[in-house]
């Protein structure tokens, strides 16, 4: 069933801190938790979860997914997802650490245009460059690309190298250098 319904993008909105995501909560009039909202690809609300019954919720998700079958991109939902795919496809993982004010549409379109075959050579995912994320990824500033090799387990990520900055030429050269060194 997971494969059949992989056509929704599941977004976890952690509102534990009351100030978190106030714009989203206000936009979709979220008054309590948990609340599930379905949006079409343009961000327009389709419906709110109508039932708390597990089978009905599954049916709702299936129905929404069926309306928008979508197309694949090179982006994975998370580093874990990217690692799973990378391990199966014998690739390396690339984590794009974005500036906090980055526009994901613009950035992904620019990367898509500039990365050439590096898009498919690596399993890509996106992380917001919060202070916590920068520390975890061992980068001083965003944007940055950190490349990992996946170990025995998908959770074992070994950093091969990182490239900071958003100059496409430098980014590509940095990625190529990391991949070249990894082969040695």
């Amino acid at each position: 069933m997971a494969a059949a319904t992989g056509n929704v993008v599941p977004v976890y909105v952690d509102c534990t801190s009351s100030e978190s995501f106030s714009d989203l909560k206000s936009k979709y009039d979220v008054k309590g938790y948990p609340t599930v909202i379905y949006l079409d690809p343009e961000g327009k609300q389709i419906k709110e979860m109508g039932s708390r019954e597990a089978s009905a919720v599954t049916g709702e998700i299936n129905g929404v997914a069926k309306k928008f079958p979508g197309r694949p991109t090179f982006w994975m939902n998370s580093a874990k997802g990217a690692a799973t795919y990378a391990k199966a496809a014998k690739k390396k993982v690339a984590v794009y650490v974005a500036k906090e004010d980055a526009d994901p549409i613009k950035v992904t379109q620019t990367l898509s245009k500039n990365l050439a075959d590096r898009k498919t050579k690596l399993a890509w995912t996106w992380e917001l460059g919060t202070a916590k994320a920068l520390e975890a990824r061992q980068v001083e500033s965003a944007p940055a690309v950190v490349i990992y090799e996946v170990g025995e387990k998908e959770t074992d990520l070994k950093m091969l190298g990182k490239v900071q900055g958003d100059d496409p030429k430098l980014l590509n050269e940095g990625i190529d250098e990391i991949l070249k060194n990894a082969k040695k």
Partner: protein, 52 residues
């Protein structure tokens, strides 16, 4: 709230993309999630929750 959370979570696990540990492969940055949905022409499912 805990019981409702568990029921909803179980349903979502049954219907969403899973990672290697059998958990939902969540996008944690809503801006990226909405952009990804737009780029891929897919629906997004926003799961608002809080751990109190």
């Amino acid at each position: 709230m805990r019981a409702t959370f568990l029921i909803v979570a179980a349903a979502l696990v049954a219907a969403a993309p899973l990672d290697h540990a059998g958990k939902i492969d969540w996008v944690r940055d809503p801006n990226f999630g909405l952009a990804k949905a737009k780029l891929e022409g897919r629906a997004a499912m926003l799961f608002f929750t809080a751990d109190w």
